[in-house]
Subunit: 370 residues, 2 copies
C-alpha cells in the first residue's frame, strides 16, 4: 500500500517536474549563452529575479532520491524523540497564564483573526487546530470563511476590517490561497503590527539583517528554534542544513539559524548530491513535503533532525480520513540521529504555539505590557 | 614589512576579539543552561535577535587561520583573472549611451546624491570614485559632506531634501557612519524609490523571498553575480560559499546566489573549520576584510573565487598613501582556482557600475522609459 502510494507520488511528481521545467525553468547556462551574443546591446546580464523563480520540485526520479527499501527497526534506536506536542502544550499553558493575568489586570485578552479561503482539507485541519489552541490559551479568535471562487476584494475587505478592529492583535491568512488570487497583494494588506505569521517582506528583511529585529518571527522557524533550544541543542557554531527554501518555512528558518550563529547551508530541488551535504550537518531541518526524502544515510550519526515536512496520505482509520507524514524516513533516522521530531507531533504543534505567542506579544505591545 | 603589518593586524584583532567577546557575546550554551532553571517562568527560550548580535570578528589566532608562509608563484597559474575594471568600464559605457539617449529624448539625466559624513580616508576614496564614475556616465551627482561630529538632524534634513528633489533618482549614504549616529534610523529615511544601495529591510526581504522583486539589488551582490555571469560561470545547482554575513555584502550576495539557484553555505567568524566547507565549493565569495584569510588550500581546484574583501594597507608609492588588499591569498589562489578577481580591480569597480545601473533604472522608472 505504502509502496503503491509512493509510486503514485513519484509518477505525479515526475510529471510535475517535467511540466514545471518546460513551462518555467530558465536555464542559466542557456541564458548566459544567449546573452553572450547580444553582448553590446545591454548593460547587465542579470535578469529580473522573478524571471528566475520556478516551482521547487524535488526529483524523486533522480539519483539523489533513494528508492531502496526502508530499514524498519533494523538498527538500534539512538535518537531521542523530540516531543513537540508536549513542549507546545507547556508553552500554551504559559501563554494561558499570561492571558489570564492580562484579563485580570486590564480586562482585555489577545485576539486572533483567521481568514480561510476554499475547502482544502489540510487547510481546514490547520485552521481548526489553531482555533482550538486559541480556546485553550484564552485567546479570542474570529474566523472568516470564504468560498474557493471568492474575489480578491472580498478578502481585502475582510482584512481591512480586521486591520481596524482594536480587539484583533493578530491576523492570519491561511495559505495556500486558490490560484486566481494574488497572494503577495493580499499578504501585503495585513497590517505589519498584526502580521503574526511574519510573512511581510519588511519583516523578512529585518529577520535577515543583523542589528535589526522583526516585529514577528515566522511561526514555523521560531518553532524549530524553540525545539532546539528546549532540547538543549547548541546552535552557535554548528553546521545546520535547511532543506527547502519556501517563504513560509525554509527561508525564515535558514535566516533565524544564522541569527543564532549556525553555519547554514540551504538545499533546494536543484542542489546536487544533497545527501553529501546533509551528512556533514549537526542539525538538519527539512521542509519540502516529500515523504522519505531524508534517508538514514543522509544523516551524520548524532545529528539532530527537525522535520517540518507534511504530506497528507489517506488513512481510513484516522479521524478525518487522512494523516500527515514528514520528509524524514523516521524509522531510519531513529537509528542514526541523536534526536528527531516526529510527524505529526513535532514541528506542527510548535508552529501553532508560536502563533499564539506572537499574538500574545502583539497584544502586550498594544497594551504596553512588558 | 608585510609580516610586521600582519602581526600588527593580528594583535589588534586578538584584542578586538577578546573585547568583543566580553562585551557582547551571548553564549547560547550558557543561555540554554540558565534558561533551564527558570523553565516555568517564561513562555519562550528564544531571546530577542538583536541580543544575539555581536561583531563578527575573524580569529586570526585560531587554528582556522593559517599562518604558514604564502606560496608565491610556486605553482603554475591555473586561474584566469576576472577583470572587474574592464567589465565595469564596458557596463558604464553602456550606461553612458542610455543616459545620452535619455537626454536626447526627454532632456533629463539620472541624478545621484551622496552623503559623506566624516573624514575616513577609505570612504573618501569610495565616494570620489563614485562621483568620477557618474561623470563618465553622464549622471548628475550631488554631494553633501558633513563633519564627523554632525548631528543626526543635519543628515536627516539633507536626506529629506534629496528625497523630495525630483532630479535625484538615487541617494547613497556612505557607510560606515560615525559611531554616535543611528545608522538604521538614517538608512530607513532614504526613500525606498531612491535607495539605490538597496539596504532598506523591505528591499532585503524582497531579495530573499521567492516570487518577489526588490526595487534595487544591493550593488556589491549584483556586481558579484554580474562578474560570474559575464565570465560564463554557471551558478544554477553549483555549490557556493559566502564568507561573511554583513548586511551590505555577504547577506545580499548569499540571498542573490540563492535566487540564482546556487546551493549556498554561509560562513562567519564562528564557523568551525571554514576551510573544509570552502574546499567543497564551486564558487567562493569572500567579504570579511581579513587579508589572506582564504589560503590556496581552502579552495577546490577549479573553483571560481570572488574577493569582495578590502583592507587598507600603507603604501607610500600609491597616489593616496595606501592601497587595498583582499581576503584571498591571491598568489596561492592563482595556482588552484579556475578564475579569481583581483583586489583592487575586481568587485570594487563593479559595485560602482551597479550603483550607476541602479540609478539609471530608477530614473527610467520615474520617466517611464522601458
Amino acid at each position: 500500500m505504502m509502496m503503491m502510494m509512493m509510486k503514485r507520488i513519484t509518477q505525479s511528481m515526475t510529471v510535475m517536474w517535467q511540466k514545471g521545467l518546460k513551462k518555467s525553468m530558465p536555464s542559466t547556462s542557456r541564458a548566459v549563452n544567449t546573452l553572450k551574443h547580444n553582448h553590446c546591446y545591454q548593460i547587465r546580464k542579470s535578469p529580473p529575479l522573478v524571471s528566475l523563480d520556478f516551482p521547487d520540485i524535488w526529483t524523486p526520479n533522480s539519483l539523489d532520491y533513494d528508492h531502496s527499501p526502508i530499514q524498519k527497526g533494523s538498527n538500534e534506536q539512538t535518537a531521542a524523540v523530540i516531543d513537540g506536542k508536549s513542549i507546545s502544550e507547556e508553552i500554551i499553558s504559559g501563554i494561558a497564564s499570561e492571558v489570564s493575568r492580562m484579563k485580570e489586570s486590564i480586562g482585555k485578552v489577545p485576539g486572533l483573526a483567521v481568514i480561510l479561503v476554499g475547502q482544502r482539507r489540510d487547510s481546514q485541519t490547520y485552521v481548526r487546530n489553531k482555533i482550538k489552541a486559541c480556546e485553550e490559551a484564552g485567546i479570542k479568535s474570529l474566523m472568516t470563511e470564504l468560498p474557493e471562487d471568492c474575489t480578491e476584494d472580498k478578502i481585502l475587505s475582510a482584512l481591512s476590517s480586521f486591520n481596524e478592529n482594536p480587539s484583533i492583535h493578530g491576523i492570519l491568512v491561511q495559505l495556500p490561497l486558490p490560484k486566481h488570487l494574488d497572494e503577495e497583494k493580499i499578504l501585503n494588506m495585513v497590517s505589519l503590527e498584526k502580521d503574526v505569521d511574519g510573512f511581510n517582506p519588511l519583516n523578512m528583511g529585518n529577520l535577515a539583517m543583523r542589528g535589526r529585529e522583526p516585529v514577528f518571527i515566522p511561526c514555523t522557524a521560531k518553532g524549530c528554534i524553540e525545539l532546539l533550544l528546549r532540547s538543549g541543542v547548541e546552535i552557535m557554531g554548528k553546521k545546520a542544513v535547511v532543506i527547502g527554501r519556501s517563504n513560509i518555512a525554509g527561508l525564515p528558518t535558514s535566516l533565524l539559524l544564522q541569527r543564532h550563529h549556525a553555519t547554514v547551508s540551504i538545499l533546494h530541488a536543484l542542489s546536487k548530491n544533497p545527501d553529501q551535504i546533509t551528512r556533514q550537518a549537526d542539525i538538519v531541518v527539512t521542509a519540502v513535503g516529500v515523504p522519505n526524502l531524508v534517508r538514514g544515510h543522509w544523516l551524520k550519526p548524532g545529528a539532530v533532525v527537525i522535520d517540518v515536512g507534511t504530506y497528507p496520505i489517506e488513512d481510513p482509520s484516522s479521524e478525518f480520513g487522512y494523516r500527515l507524514i514528514g520528509d524524514v524516513c523516521y524509522e531510519e533516522a531513529l537509528g542514526v540521529a541523536s534526536a528527531v521530531t516526529p510527524v505529526p507531533g513535532g514541528v506542527g504543534p510548535m508552529t501553532i504555539a508560536m502563533l499564539l505567542s506572537n499574538t500574545l506579544d502583539s497584544a502586550k505591545r498594544v497594551y504596553d505590557i512588558t
